[in-house]
């Protein structure tokens, strides 16, 4: 309704904005107003506030129903697979993890109605096409340190088997490979090898969270690693493993 009151130039800007960002008209107007009708500024505004949208709830319901199981109120493996297909992404693509994080999904490969709809709302999309367009910016969120940490820590609970306290080794390794490919941690392969050879048990939450600290603060040559540094014992053993096999020098 508001669009009648706009001048032609502004109307064009709104159109342009909506096409590029996939946002709704309301959102577009908000962003352009906030940036005084400068398109660039509007984009900045929009991308810094992914949750400003009030996406069409009905469309979201429709989306949900498309993917949900026929006889359960959940989106399960098949639905997820279909979703990935529609998004033109591999189910193993890390962007699915980011999306799951937005949805605050409790378990891998499952979305409740609440999770799905709430998640899409918070991302600010209400259609597959819009979601598809959003993918690059979602991937970009991994570059943000703070967000990466949140996503990383989220992953532990999400990837766990239902009812388990710890993460199975296989799953953990898979997740680490996924996550740290982004971060380029040089010791990743050694770490996974070490776990398979020496540990062969589940991964505790403390180990999981502390590993990120380790990756962030200790350099790959371990020059600033401190034995008395209250690292989980698994990490201490990993350091021993690296030294024993000559991958790093003993201090």
């Amino acid at each position: 309704m508001l669009i009648y009151k706009l001048g032609k130039g502004s109307r064009e800007k709104v159109q342009q904005f909506m096409t590029i960002t996939g946002a709704s008209e309301k959102v577009a107007l908000q962003a352009l107003k906030a940036s005084d009708w400068h398109l660039e500024g509007a984009f900045d505004f929009f991308y810094s506030q992914p949750q400003i949208s009030a996406a069409n709830t009905r469309r979201l319901e429709e989306m949900y129903n498309k993917y949900k199981e026929p006889d359960a109120d959940m989106i399960m493996v098949e639905g997820v697979s279909q979703l990935c297909n529609d998004l033109h992404v591999d189910p193993q693509d890390i962007v699915m993890l980011v999306i799951s994080w937005h949805m605050k999904a409790a378990t891998m490969c499952e979305f409740t109605r609440q999770e799905f709809i709430g998640g899409l709302q918070s991302i600010g999309v209400d259609s597959i096409e819009k979601l598809r367009e959003k993918l690059p910016s979602l991937r970009a969120e991994l570059k943000d340190d703070h967000k990466f940490r949140e996503i990383y820590n989220f992953t532990f609970n999400w990837a766990r088997e239902k009812g388990q306290k710890s993460l199975s080794l296989e799953t953990a390794i898979g997740m680490w490979q996924l996550l740290f490919a982004e971060r380029q941690w040089p010791l990743l392969d050694h770490w996974c090898e070490f776990l398979q050879v020496r540990h062969n048990k589940t991964i505790s939450r403390d180990t999981w969270t502390q590993l990120l600290e380790f990756v962030k603060s200790i350099d790959p040559q371990l020059s600033n690693y401190d034995e008395e540094g209250a690292w989980p014992y698994l990490i201490d053993e990993f350091v021993e493993y690296l030294i024993e096999n000559g991958f790093v020098q003993r201090k």
């Binding site: 403390d206 008395e228 540094g229 989980p232 014992y233």
Partner: protein, 734 residues
């Protein structure tokens, strides 16, 4: 005659003796004194009148001739002294000191008299003008004119030093002459004594002893050398008391100590084949005492001895505990440790005056090496086991007490006290159950010692074992009292009921008891459960014994004391002549390893072969056949077969025990962590590690890696969490 009368009144006439007017007054008076002094120096003083001379001097001073008198006196004394000097200088060789002494005496005597004569001057002119009093003046003049004269000074010193040197080399010298000479120097003032004698004396002594020590150390063993040093120290001390100033005593001692001991300390103590280590090994108390008392004077002397002793103890201790030969016999192993401890207790007591720092060094050395061998706890328990089995057979009760007290000293050194507890429990159980605890009093006494050392918790379970046996005894009696009316040809049983938890856990295995035994045991079980509802009894067939009456084919009758397993096997032969291994195994259901051991002890041990095995080989295979040995003989009626004695564990058993102990430690570590965190709320990583180790120290030394794992486990179970900002900090979650 004249006629004019002269008028004569009384008038007061002034003193006739107006010396004042006599211009020669001073000279005349001085002449008197001068001559008198001469006579005094010529030993002709007896003819003089003291009073007159005193008066003369008095008058002189009164008439203001003090200064002049003083001057003349000084000059005069000097003259006399110069005469004396000539005489002294002329003295030859040995007479030099005598002459000096003689003249000194004369001078002293003269001075006394002169002083007395001039006493008025001393008290007036000299005092007010702050001049040196007469006597002191005389001494100063002596000093300057004689002692420090160019011809005499050097000669005097040389003579004194020469004599001392000769005395050091063994000659006898005139000590009283020495004494009076040094006294002369002291009388002249302590600085004269020090400058003109003491300092050079100390220097010369230093180089003398430097030379002597060098000489001796090349050719003497340590003990010999120390004797010599001691001798010299005593000698010098005595010399000082005889003819030197007392204060020189500590100075010369310091010189001897430095030259003979301090400078060679390392070399002496570490001397091969004769130094400290050798003395310790050979218990040379006298040498050790001497070394201790001599090196008391040397800086770092005692600490050097102490650390050499400690290293030596650690070294011998280490080789003792790691020697594979020694490890074959645990009792001998521990005995040797006790012997070592006794040896050093004695040495420290006798030779090192029970010096506490040495005792501490001994303790920490022992603590150090005893824990190098992780079987020490087991061996010490075996040693105690051995002693408690033999009881008062081998040693009197007092001796046993003493031995146990000494063992407790070794126990204190153990780091892994919880491991010891486990073994002690095992060994005690075996002792109690096989009836091998020789003296109940000694057993209790040992428990009390352990309780005193480690607290109630350590011994509560052990005490439970004793209680169980007593209760079992009563229960068995009650059983028989209750069933006295029943048939009496059933075998008699004596039951020991062990409370699980107090006794070391034994894995229970299968065993088919002979029917007679089964019957009576079930009867007992019914009786027991009748009075103790809700309990469960499990027969520990691997721990029991049996007495069987046996009649052999050759007619010999014996009573055999065997294990329960052996009983089950033997009873089979009541209904069969020969049985194969397989058949025996099936019938008894005893586990293979135990059964084979059991059969071996029945058939292959010389003198105890109640069974015959075919073939006679050591190993047992399925088809080997067994039958009763009808040719069995023994000198004794009662024959004991296969008693179970506490052996030191085999390797797999050892591993199992250690694993169990490690498992037991985990909850203890966790409990400590929780306790600490509960009270501190927030604590950093390193502090937790330190605190936990400290808390558990009375029982064992926790492995840091294990502590870490426990912390992580507690985090996992949400007892603790890491601080959000500082990952090295832990928080307690209520």
């Amino acid at each position: 005659m004249s006629s004019a009368p002269k008028k004569r009144g009384s008038r007061i006439e002034p003193f006739r003796h107006r010396v004042e007017t006599d211009p020669n007054f001073f000279d005349k008076s001085w002449r008197k004194l001068h001559d008198a002094i001469r006579e005094i120096y010529n030993h002709n003083a007896s003819g003089l009148s003291f009073e007159e001379l005193y008066r003369t001097a008095y008058n002189m001073v009164l008439h203001k001739h003090g200064p002049k008198l003083y001057e003349h006196l000084t000059a005069n004394l000097k003259e006399h002294l110069e005469e004396m000097r000539t005489s002294i200088e002329a003295a030859q060789g040995g007479l030099f000191l005598e002459e000096l002494q003689r003249k000194w005496d004369e001078h002293n005597k003269a001075l006394q008299m002169i002083r007395d004569i001039l006493m008025y001057m001393d008290r007036t002119y000299i005092l007010t003008n702050k001049k040196t009093p007469v006597f002191d003046l005389g001494l100063e003049l002596w000093r300057d004119t004689i002692v420090r004269s160019s011809m005499i000074q050097g000669r005097l010193l040389d003579t004194l030093l020469e004599l001392i040197h000769r005395e050091r080399m063994g000659e006898v010298i005139n000590r009283s002459l020495m004494r009076s000479t040094t006294k002369m120097l002291m009388d002249l003032g302590s600085s004269v004594y020090q400058e003109d004698f003491e300092r050079p004396f100390l220097e010369v002594s230093a180089s003398f002893y430097s030379g002597e020590s060098q000489q001796f150390i090349e050719c003497c063993a340590c003990g010999e050398y120390l004797k010599q040093a001691e001798r010299r120290l005593n000698e010098e001390s005595e010399r000082v008391t005889q003819y030197m100033d007392m204060k020189t005593g500590e100075k010369i001692t310091a010189v001897v100590v430095k030259e003979m001991l301090a400078n060679h300390m390392q070399r002496l103590i570490l001397m091969e084949n004769s130094g400290l280590v050798n003395m310790l090994v050979e218990d040379r108390y006298e040498d050790l005492t001497r070394m201790y008392s001599l090196f008391h004077h040397v800086a770092e002397g005692h600490s050097t001895i102490r650390s050499v002793m400690a290293s030596h103890i650690k070294e011998t201790g280490k080789s003792l505990v790691t020697d594979p030969e020694r490890l074959k016999d645990p009792v001998d192993f521990v005995q040797r440790l006790l012997n070592e401890k006794d040896k050093y207790d004695n040495i420290i007591n006798v030779s090192f005056s029970n010096d506490k720092s040495f005792l501490n060094a001994l303790n920490s050395s022992f603590e150090n090496f005893i824990n190098l061998n992780n079987r020490s706890p087991e061996f010490i328990s075996l040693f105690v086991d051995d002693k408690l089995r033999k009881g008062v057979k081998e040693a009197s009760e007092e001796d046993l007490e003493t031995i146990l007290d000494k063992v407790m000293m070794l126990f204190r050194y153990l780091q892994e006290k919880d491991l010891f507890e486990k073994y002690y429990k095992q060994h005690l159980a075996k002792r109690l159950l096989s009836g091998k605890a020789a003296s109940d009093d000694s057993e209790r006494s040992m428990l009390v010692k352990l309780k005193t050392e480690c607290g109630y918790q350590f011994t509560s379970k052990l005490e439970g074992m004793f209680t169980d046996l007593k209760t079992s005894h009563d229960t068995t009696q009650n059983f028989y009292a209750a069933s006295s009316s029943d048939a009496t040809d059933a075998p008699t049983i004596s039951v020991q009921i062990l409370t699980t938890g107090s006794w070391p856990t034994q894995p229970c295995s299968t065993c088919n008891l002979p029917p007679e035994i089964l019957a009576v045991s079930e009867k007992f079980r019914a009786f027991y459960l009748g009075t103790h509802n809700g309990r469960r009894l499990t027969w520990q067939t691997n721990m029991g014994t049996a007495d069987i009456k046996a009649t052999f084919g050759n007619g010999s009758k014996h009573e055999l004391n065997v294990s329960t397993y052996q009983m089950c096997v033997l009873m089979l032969f009541n209904s069969a002549d020969a049985l194969t291994y397989r058949e025996i195994e099936q019938a008894t259901a005893i586990p293979a390893a135990d059964l084979k051991r059991c059969l071996q002890s029945l058939a292959l041990v010389k003198g105890k072969q109640v069974l015959r095995k075919e073939p006679m080989s050591r190993d047992i295979s399925d088809d080997d056949s067994f039958c009763v040995n009808d040719k069995f003989t023994s000198k004794l009626f009662k024959v004991k077969i296969g008693t179970v004695v506490a052996q030191k564990e085999t390797d797999p058993e050892k591993l199992e025990t250690r694993q169990r102990v490690e498992e037991d430690r985990k909850p203890q570590i966790e409990a400590a962590i929780v306790r600490i965190m509960k009270s501190r709320r927030v604590l950093d990583h390193n502090s937790i590690m330190t605190e936990v180790t400290k808390q558990l120290q009375p029982r064992f030394l926790p492995n840091p890696v294990v502590i870490k794992k426990r912390i992580e486990s507690l985090i996992e179970r949400e007892f603790l969490e890491r601080d959000k900002t500082d990952r090295k900090l832990y928080r307690y979650l209520a």
